[in-house]
């Protein structure tokens, strides 16, 4: 059975497209890092690109797009507490400066 004959419902095309997207975003973030942008802009852009890549991986490779909402909820709970962790520490950064 070759790939072309198989009447598979789940096409592999989205995976390849996501892969190409991840590759382009990696290239872009490395390119931006060499431009010597202002620190805040550099952090913001690198953060946004990393977030986009993470979303792409979770949505397509980890199939969250097709999963029950319970899994997304579980993930959001963990992300919420990580945010709490970071946010609650921001005060300490302010104290040192």
């Amino acid at each position: 059975m070759t790939e072309n004959e198989a009447p598979h419902p789940a096409s592999v095309k989205p995976y390849i497209l996501v892969f190409v997207g991840l590759g382009i975003l990696t290239g872009l973030t490395v390119f931006l890092s060499y431009l010597g942008l202002p620190r805040h802009t550099a952090i913001l852009l690198a953060g946004l690109i990393a977030l986009t890549k993470v979303t792409l991986i979770a949505t397509f490779f980890m199939h969250l797009r097709f999963e029950k909402r319970a899994f997304v909820f579980l993930l959001l709970v963990a992300l919420f507490f990580v945010t709490v962790l970071v946010a609650s520490l921001i005060k300490d950064i302010g104290l040192i400066h």
Binding site: Y15, V30, I57, F61
Partner: protein
């Protein structure tokens, strides 16, 4: 597929709960890193020559590629194509080993340049976090080997591929962690 009254397979729920706890584990380390990097006057970031951005970029591509081969292995077994499944699983594991090999070379280079786990705040975080990530990679390689062996024994097909899927979820998560560690240590 294995189902219960909630309509959610136990294994998949277990894997996602585990991954959520992993988010907290890495999240705790990364938030500590953010605080000390932004707050400590003693946070010296090593120069580009020691960090080696091009090699880390190559490693990022290696890991992304291993993620796509993993998902293609799952797609293959979902179409009952065991041969293609085995090929992609082997490819995934080889790419994972390549990543670890490059990482080992990087460690060697950094340690010989004087950047060690005890040389300063950056070194401590770098080796703790990338080391923890590398341990996860080794765990993933073992999981992948288990799935590959069982796949070759004919245990998986288009109706039973749960464990391939769970190994994939874990592998993609490890890739996902690297996607965050890469800019954190090498780009910013």
């Amino acid at each position: 597929m294995e189902h219960n009254s909630t309509g959610i397979p136990h294994g998949k729920l277990g894997m996602w709960i585990f991954l959520s706890s992993e988010i907290m584990l890495f999240g705790a380390f990364i938030s500590a890193y953010i605080v000390l990097r932004m707050g400590s006057p003693n946070f010296g970031v090593p120069p580009e020559a020691i960090m080696g951005r091009p090699l880390a970029t190559i490693n990022t591509f290696v890991l992304i590629t291993s993620s796509v081969t993993m998902v293609l292995a799952l797609a293959a077994i979902q179409r009952d194509n065991t041969k293609q499944f085995a090929m992609f699983m082997v490819l995934t594991s080889l790419l994972g080993m390549t990543f670890l090999g490059i990482k080992g070379y990087e460690y060697h280079h950094k340690i010989s340049e004087g950047l060690t786990i005890s040389s300063g705040l950056f070194g401590s975080f770098y080796f703790t976090l990338t080391g923890l990530h590398a341990l996860h990679m080794i765990g993933g390689l073992i999981f992948n080997a288990y799935v590959l062996i069982n796949g070759l024994r004919g245990k998986f097909n288009s109706r039973h591929y749960e464990r391939v899927e769970y190994a994939g979820l874990y592998w993609h998560f490890v890739d996902l962690v690297w996607v965050i560690l890469f800019p954190v240590f090498y780009l910013i």
